[in-house]
């Protein structure tokens, strides 16, 4: 059986000095943790912005590249940045707002290639502020959608063999690694060639 004295000694607690030292150490650890957490949060936020900007640029480029591949004609400019015409693949016999009741037109052979539908579909891309708008004009009228944000610059150029080069950049407001550093710019270049003759 242990003596009561030894029990009392264990429960005597810590001295003021010990408490202060413990508190100081705890503060240091907590401070370090806080700084680390803030840095982590900052990095995480920056990564999130980076990923988001990258997703925007990729989406915009994918839209434009897909339309370029489908295009019959393509022309580059300032506003719109890019204009393409495409065959009217879908016959919109039903409700304009319901694509489910459309059906594909059959290709009809023409003198220079096969054609779909009686008219062409025109798609234009605009950069307004930092947002990209895709405007589609077909026999139903004009429909427009914002397809990307965070886009700082968007240009298109047409080179030999009708290859369309799409260049876009996003300037991220959140600076890495610390405030005051130059804003980071993400750039994406994609080339696509119209497949139609």
């Amino acid at each position: 059986m242990k003596s009561p004295v030894s029990v009392c000694r264990r429960e005597r607690g810590v001295s003021l000095v010990e408490t202060l030292m413990g508190t100081a150490i705890a503060m240091l650890i907590l401070g370090a943790l806080m700084i680390g957490t803030i840095a982590l949060q900052r990095a995480f936020k920056a990564s999130d912005i980076l990923a988001s900007a990258q997703a925007d640029l990729i989406r915009v480029s994918d839209y434009m590249a897909r339309d370029v591949r489908n295009s019959i004609t393509a022309s580059a400019g300032t506003s719109p940045v890019l204009t393409v015409t495409m065959g009217d693949y879908y016959n919109r016999n039903g409700t304009p707002s319901n694509p489910a009741d459309d059906f594909p037109n059959s290709p009809v052979m023409g003198t220079s290639g096969a054609a779909y539908g009686a008219s062409v579909v025109t798609v234009r891309y605009y950069l307004t502020g930092q947002r990209v708008r895709r405007e589609l004009t077909n026999s139903d009228g004009v429909t427009s959608a914002w397809i990307g944000e965070n886009v700082n610059t968007l240009t298109a150029s047409i080179g030999p063999d009708k290859v369309v080069t799409i260049s876009s950049t996003a300037t991220m407001g959140y600076r890495i690694p610390k405030p005051g550093a130059p804003a980071n710019t993400l750039a994406l270049v994609m080339a696509a060639r119209p497949r139609n003759p």
Binding site: T37, A55, R69, A114, N196
Partner: protein, 576 residues
């Protein structure tokens, strides 16, 4: 003293603190993980979506290669493909059709995997369907059939079936996460076991023929300064008038000529003779197999001068037919003397409209009179069973001689094939009249074919439809012992020679080892219509165009004749 409760109190505080700390850390980790996962999923799905286009294009390329094989190696074409119905299910009752014309309900499918990549657990696949919709079907009058190729690339996504957070990505990529959203498959609309990215493209493959260009020469060509070569399109009202050539409606870039020399030939004794454009006016492009060093006098080429272009132009073999309509030793087109007066009236009527090559025999009665008085061959009304004649020679060389190709009673379209083992001559007022609707092909296996001295004396080749593909001259390659060597510039011997002089001519010539001479006399100066008017397309060994002959290439000809390759006529991604 109550020591035990005090100790319990201290223990509890530590545990709660630990739990709270762990919870906070776990929340931070979860948030981080959630964000990272979402970002990763988006990037992963975007990559899969892009890869599925590569897979779809692989399938389309596979189909194009098979179409090419159906030309080069038809026996082995479409091996491994299956006939399927409209839903994509195998149509067991149908056998694979390798013939050139497919019914509109006929489809063949191939499903295959791309070669596995390192670390890939689920392989990328493509499924491609080839068919001929009614709008691309063959038309005997004008078109070869084209093919529709629908190819779908399928990339399995091994991650959970979750959509990305930004719906704009979902709208663009339209992944099949839970339900198969791919069109035209037996599995369409069913629940998937593995999410997948799919993209479908539709391509139209159009056959190109040896008549793709206005003029193709294998060894050399020589043109004259007063010649001009341009293009029109008998299938397009913007570039023709009722299917006929009109100089005011020539195509902007028509009349392309090709200095081919695609075959490697034995080295000639002398230096290779240069292609001589002769400062002729060529509205189209000049295409050259190698560099421009072997071409001269190109000053008046209006289009581009393109180097390193050639096409394979295999020589033609004699036809082998299981049966023939008739064997005829000689077609001389003689008519009874008592009919000659009527014939002259018909001839005069027929020619009232313009140059002989464009004469339409203005009225049915005129055509009927001509047909009645000449030696008549009647076509077969079915393109798969044309009338076939083996003929020793054709010699229509007097004013009162005519040879008429006509439709059978009650038919407006028919097909005639003649295998000519000897020579052909239409001259001195003799007439070869090809009625509207007749598609005539003459296989030349003699030494020469001549169309001459008809402008002054009347007659000549009268192609009532005015469409050059309705009169095809196919030069058959002779055995080496029968070939001729004309001069030191001929490392490759010729099988024969086709001559058109003092005559207009409408037709197409496919004779890669035959020489072709267009040398009409320089008549018609009074109406500024100098020289002969030639309509059609020519593929020959040596091609000379002289004496101011003008040459009008019908661009619609590319859709007629035997295909030599396939080109992409349309490409679309099906986005829904």
């Amino acid at each position: 003293m109550h020591l035990i409760p005090s100790a319990r109190s201290q223990d509890g505080g530590v545990i709660i603190s630990a739990v709270i700390t762990v919870a906070i850390l776990a929340s931070i980790a979860a948030m981080t993980l959630f964000g990272v996962t979402a970002t990763h999923r988006n990037a992963y799905q975007a990559a899969g979506w892009r890869e599925s286009l590569v897979a779809a294009e692989s399938g389309a390329e596979r189909a194009l290669a098979e179409l090419q094989k159906s030309i080069d190696d038809p026996v082995n074409a479409w091996t491994g493909w299956t006939v399927v119905d409209a839903k994509g299910n195998p149509a067991v009752s149908q056998t694979l059709n390798k013939s050139s014309r497919w019914p509109s309900t006929y489809s063949v499918r191939m499903t295959a995997s791309l070669p596995p990549q390192t670390g890939e657990t689920l392989q990328t696949q493509y499924s491609v369907v080839v068919d001929v919709p009614g709008t691309l079907a063959a038309s005997g009058k004008r078109w070869n059939q084209s093919f529709r190729i629908r190819s779908t690339g399928v990339v399995p996504l091994s991650e959970a079936a979750q959509a990305v957070t930004d719906k704009r990505d979902s709208q663009l990529r339209r992944l099949s996460l839970v339900w198969d959203r791919t069109l035209g498959f037996a599995s369409s609309g069913t629940k998937l076991t593995t999410p997948q990215a799919t993209r479908m493209i539709e391509m139209v493959a159009r056959p190109d023929t040896v008549y793709k260009y206005g003029l193709v020469a294998e060894v050399v060509f020589k043109l004259s300064k007063s010649t001009y070569i341009d293009g029109f399109n008998s299938n397009d009202g913007a570039y023709s008038v009722s299917g006929k050539y009109d100089p005011a409606k020539r195509t902007p870039t028509g009349g392309t000529i090709l200095a081919n020399r695609w075959k490697k030939k034995a080295k000639p004794t002398n230096a290779t003779e240069k292609f001589d454009v002769g400062k002729a006016t060529v509205y189209g492009d000049l295409l050259v197999k190698g560099s421009m060093k072997n071409v001269k006098n190109t000053d008046n080429v209006q289009g581009d001068k393109v180097t390193n272009v050639s096409i394979e132009t295999p020589t033609n073999l004699a036809p082998v037919w299981p049966s023939v309509t008739a064997n005829i030793s000689k077609l001389d087109g003689k008519i009874p003397s008592g009919m000659s007066a009527i014939f002259k009236i018909a001839e005069k009527t027929a020619k009232a409209g313009g140059p002989a090559a464009q004469i339409e025999a203005k009225s049915a009665s005129a055509a009927a009179v001509v047909a009645a008085k000449g030696m008549e061959l009647v076509g077969g009304a079915n393109p798969s069973s044309p009338s076939r004649f083996i003929v020793g020679s054709i010699d229509v060389d007097k004013k009162d001689e005519s040879l008429v190709f006509s439709n059978p009673a009650g038919a407006t379209e028919s097909w005639i094939e003649i295998y000519l083992t000897g020579d052909m001559k239409v001259s001195k007022g003799g007439t070869l009249f090809i009625s509207n609707g007749v598609h005539a092909t003459v296989y030349l296996d003699g030494k020469k074919a001549e169309f001459k001295d008809t402008k002054k004396d009347g007659g000549g080749v009268i192609l009532e439809s005015g469409f050059a593909a309705d009169f095809q001259l196919v030069g058959v390659e002779q055995s080496d012992g029968k070939k001729e060597t004309d001069d030191d510039y001929s490392p490759k011997k010729r099988s024969g020679k086709i001559t058109v002089s003092d005559s207009d001519f409408t037709g197409v010539i496919n004779a890669p080892d035959w020489d072709v001479d267009f040398k009409p006399k320089d008549w018609d100066k009074e109406d500024t219509n100098y020289g002969g008017q030639l309509f059609g397309s020519v593929l020959g060994r040596k091609v000379n165009i002289g004496n101011g002959a003008d040459y009008h290439f019908d661009e619609a000809l590319n859709q007629t004749g035997a295909p030599v390759s396939y080109a992409v006529a349309a490409w679309n991604e099906i986005e829904r």
